[in-house]
Each structure stands twice: as structure tokens, then as C-alpha cells.
């Protein structure tokens, strides 16, 4: 019986062992935060002592002031909201479309064989190059930006998820067939649930991918959003604005990634 249970009456030796692990975790976290703080402090110091030209490099306090100004004028919300909205839509569409295509290709071996060379070529094409075409077709607006995000993430999703489907043990499928399962049941009872780890790692990749798509889209056409803010800041030579938008992107992308990690934890509960 290999049932893992935490006992309350652990031996001192075991407690010491647990303590050691805990301490190591704390040390890692402290070092991570220390590096960030040291970097910010050095940046601030170098800028105020004129070692570097803060007009070009900006500096933490100036970024902080920019954020505050944007916040006070209400523009911060608008830009963050626009970009987040586009990213989440692009991310969701990319994941759902990609998974749906993967299901079709799993279902029909023939379709998968036919699609193979197209997938390979499309995967290696830099989707960003399609930007001008998309703008002409979809107009200079949100639709183009979302499409960009969708295009950047969809092919990777198809390939990743399909490989996950095909990796499901043939014996598990045989087991279901002995019960007389239909193809649909094989999909819903074993192939999809067994592929959840693969789908989640596709989600993780797609967080980054859809951010790339949205920011590139905003660089090309937009009147609002963090990508717009960065481009605008560059054009008027306000590096504070550029740095600010980059930092907000960093935070937002990290939060989104954490969201997926939370999903993963929830769905993987009980699995090993």
C-alpha cells in the first residue's frame, strides 16, 4: 500500500528535513527579489548621478511618475484594457480553433496526411509578415489585431495538441474498444482527458504567442493599447512612455501565465 499521508507525529529528523527544504525555498525567493531591487536601485542611481542619460534610458522614478499620470488621466485603464481584451480574445480563439482543428485531424487520418505539408510550411512562416494583408482585409482596427494574435498561436496549437492526441497509449484505446466504444467516446473518454497536460502546455505557449500577435498588431494599426503607447512614445521620443508600457506588459503577461498555471494546478489535482 503506497498511500502518501502526512503524519502529524513526524520524527525530529523528518522535521529537520522539511525545514531544510523550506529554507532553501526562502533563500531562492529572497535572491530573486534582491536581484530585481538591486537592478532598479542601480538604474535609479546611475540615472540620478548622470552616469547614463535618463532621456534615453528613462529611470524607475520617472516610469513611476508616468504610470501615476496615466492613472490620474484615466488613460492607464483604457490602454491596459484594450490590450488585455485583444490578447484574451486572441488567446482564446487561437486555443479553441487550434484544438478544434487538431480534433478534426485526429478524427480523420486522411485529413491529417493531407494537411501535414501545409502545417509544416505555415508553422515556419513568420506570421507577422501577413500583417499588411490582414489590415487590408480586416480594416485598421481591433479585428486585425485579434486576427494577428490568432494566427500567431493557432498553428503551434494544432501541432502541439495533435501530437498529444497521437501520443495517447494505443492500449488505452484498445481497452475502450473492448467495451464497444464509439470513436466519439474514444475522443471524449480517453483522448481529450489524457491530453489535458498537453493542452495546458499549449496554453502556456499561447500566452506568449498571443502577446506577440497583439503587440505587433498594435504597432501596425491602433489608436490605443500598450503596443500603441510604446510606438507613440518612440515617435515623440518619450522613452519614459515606452519603458512604462513594456513594464505594464511584463506584469500583465506574467499574471496571465499565472492564471494558466493556476488552471493547471486545478486540473492536475489527483493526477500523477
Amino acid at each position: 500500500m503506497s498511500v502518501n499521508k502526512r503524519h502529524n507525529n513526524d520524527s525530529p529528523e523528518h522535521l529537520a528535513y522539511l525545514n531544510k527544504i523550506k529554507q532553501k525555498e526562502i533563500a531562492v525567493r529572497v535572491s530573486q527579489i534582491a536581484i530585481l531591487l538591486a537592478f532598479l536601485a542601480l538604474w535609479e542611481l546611475a540615472a540620478s548621478l548622470k552616469w547614463i542619460d535618463s532621456f534615453i534610458t528613462s529611470q524607475p522614478t520617472r516610469i513611476w511618475n508616468t504610470i501615476r499620470n496615466l492613472y490620474q488621466t484615466g488613460e492607464l485603464y483604457r490602454h491596459v484594457f484594450v490590450t488585455l481584451y485583444e490578447t484574451i480574445i486572441g488567446f482564446t480563439l487561437g486555443t479553441i480553433t487550434g484544438t478544434a482543428i487538431a480534433i478534426v485531424l485526429w478524427w480523420s487520418d486522411f485529413a491529417a496526411k493531407v494537411a501535414d505539408p501545409y502545417l509544416v510550411v505555415l508553422n515556419s512562416l513568420p506570421k507577422v509578415a501577413l500583417g499588411p494583408i490582414i489590415i487590408v482585409w480586416m480594416g485598421a482596427g481591433t479585428a486585425s489585431i485579434v486576427t494577428m494574435a490568432l494566427l500567431v498561436s493557432v498553428i503551434v496549437t494544432v501541432i502541439g495538441v495533435l501530437n498529444g492526441f497521437l501520443d495517447v497509449s494505443p492500449d488505452k484505446i484498445k481497452l475502450l474498444k473492448t467495451f464497444g466504444a464509439t470513436k466519439r467516446q474514444i475522443l471524449t473518454k480517453v483522448v481529450l482527458p489524457a491530453s489535458i497536460p498537453t493542452i495546458i502546455s499549449a496554453l502556456k505557449i499561447n500566452v506568449g504567442m498571443s502577446w506577440v500577435g497583439v503587440i505587433v498588431g498594435e504597432f501596425l494599426v491602433s489608436k490605443a493599447g500598450l503596443g500603441y503607447l510604446a510606438v507613440y512614445g518612440g515617435q515623440v521620443f518619450q522613452l519614459d512612455l515606452v519603458m512604462t508600457s513594456v513594464i505594464i506588459m511584463l506584469v500583465a503577461a506574467a499574471l496571465m501565465y499565472q492564471g494558466v498555471a493556476w488552471l493547471e494546478k486545478r486540473y492536475m489535482k489527483g493526477r500523477r
Partner: protein
Amino acid sequence: MNEQSIVIMDAVNLNYHSPEGETPALEDISLSVSKGEFISIVGPSGCGKTTILSLIAGLIRPTSGRILIEGKEVDGPSSKTGYMLQQDHLFEWRTIQQNVLLGLEIQGKITKENKRRAIHLLETYGLADFRDHYPWQLSGGMRQRVALIRTLAINPDLLLLDEPFSALDYQTRLALSDEVAGIIRKEEKTALLVTHDISEAISMSDRILVLSKRPGSVKSEYSIHLTGENRSPVELRKAPEFRNYFNKIWKELDVHVS
């Protein structure tokens, strides 16, 4: 081949097709299994033992010949047969109880009564406390027991056992074969066991079929009569006739390490 036969294979041939050509896998297999009988099929690896089970389970069709279960020609998987694979293949995202109910779920037979029966099986065979556990929390032997109960939950008359013990260590294997034989006898099932373990076959079966090398055909057949008060396979290994059967089948298999 009388009315008591639950399975009849009549002059069954099977060829495998691949781009490299056509390979005969089974040649003129005829056999019949009576109700309540425990039959083992032994043979060299690659002789098509598992293929026979796949045919009876309705997963593949024979090239020629007939296969009947309870007098009806097999034309696909049926709930009369239960298949047990080499690995337990419990789904790691399902609890033990959810795993056991898988077959009923697929066949759309989740009724109160069937569910109660399945849970009762878990209780009878010492797994009640693990109903809500996940597979990784169980040992290999327990997992394979759950796999057997998953097979029994659909209430099949015939059990097809495809080397169900071969992935386990020796001690677990002995203990589990004992237990499985007990369960099968108690539930009054007919069983067809494929194995390459001669001792396992002798200790568990009423009858043993020895297959030839590929293309597999029935080379010989042994009715096993072991004397012993206890019908448990582990005890039956001590029967005086055991060694005799072992030597005969060993010779028949003609194993060479080359």
C-alpha cells in the same frame, strides 16, 4: 462442440496485411470453451496468442472461419466478453470508483443496480477504502485487481485475460493469480487466459492449448488434473502431477535461446 460451449472457433484463419506483404498469423484454429471452464493458451512469443483474444473480443475479423459466442457469430465487441490487458491502464484522471464504472458508462448502462453491483465488487475484494483514491495511490497488485473489477463490472460471461500478470513482480504475481482464480470461480465466469508462463497456466487452468510458432495453430491440448484439497493455484503448484505437465509442455514449446 456441444450446447454448453460458450465460445466456438471453427477453422479460423487470419492474415495480416502490411505494405511489405501478407503474413499468415493464425492457421486453422478450432477450439471450443465450455461454460465455467478456465482455459489457457501458451505458445512462443509472436505466435498469435493475443490475436485469438482480439478475434473473440470482436476487435478484428478473421480472414476465414467462424467465431461464435453463445451460438451467435461475433460481429464486434459485445458486453458478453470482458477483456483484461497486460497493463491495468487505469485512467489517472479518474478515481478508482470512476475507473471501475468506465465500461458501464461506455455501454450506457449506468443504472442504480449496476452501479451498486460494481461498488459491491470493490467492497468484496477489499478495495472499498480506496473508492475515492486515484490510481497512483495504489500498488501494482491492487491496480490490477481494480482492472479486473472494471472488467467484471459489465457482467461479462466470458473473461479474456491477456497476460494480466506479466507486468508484476514475482510475489505479487503469485498472490494475484491466486486471487484472480478465486474471484473468477466465485463469480462463475468462463475464462480464457493467454500467458507465456507455463506454471501459471498449469496451476490456474482446466485445459491448456499449446500453439505452434507463427503462423499459430493448435499444436496440442492438455486436460489438467491436479490432486490437492485446496483449489488455489499456489497450492496446486505443489501437486505431484505438476512437474509432469510442466516438462511435457516445456518440451512441446521447444524453447531455444539463440
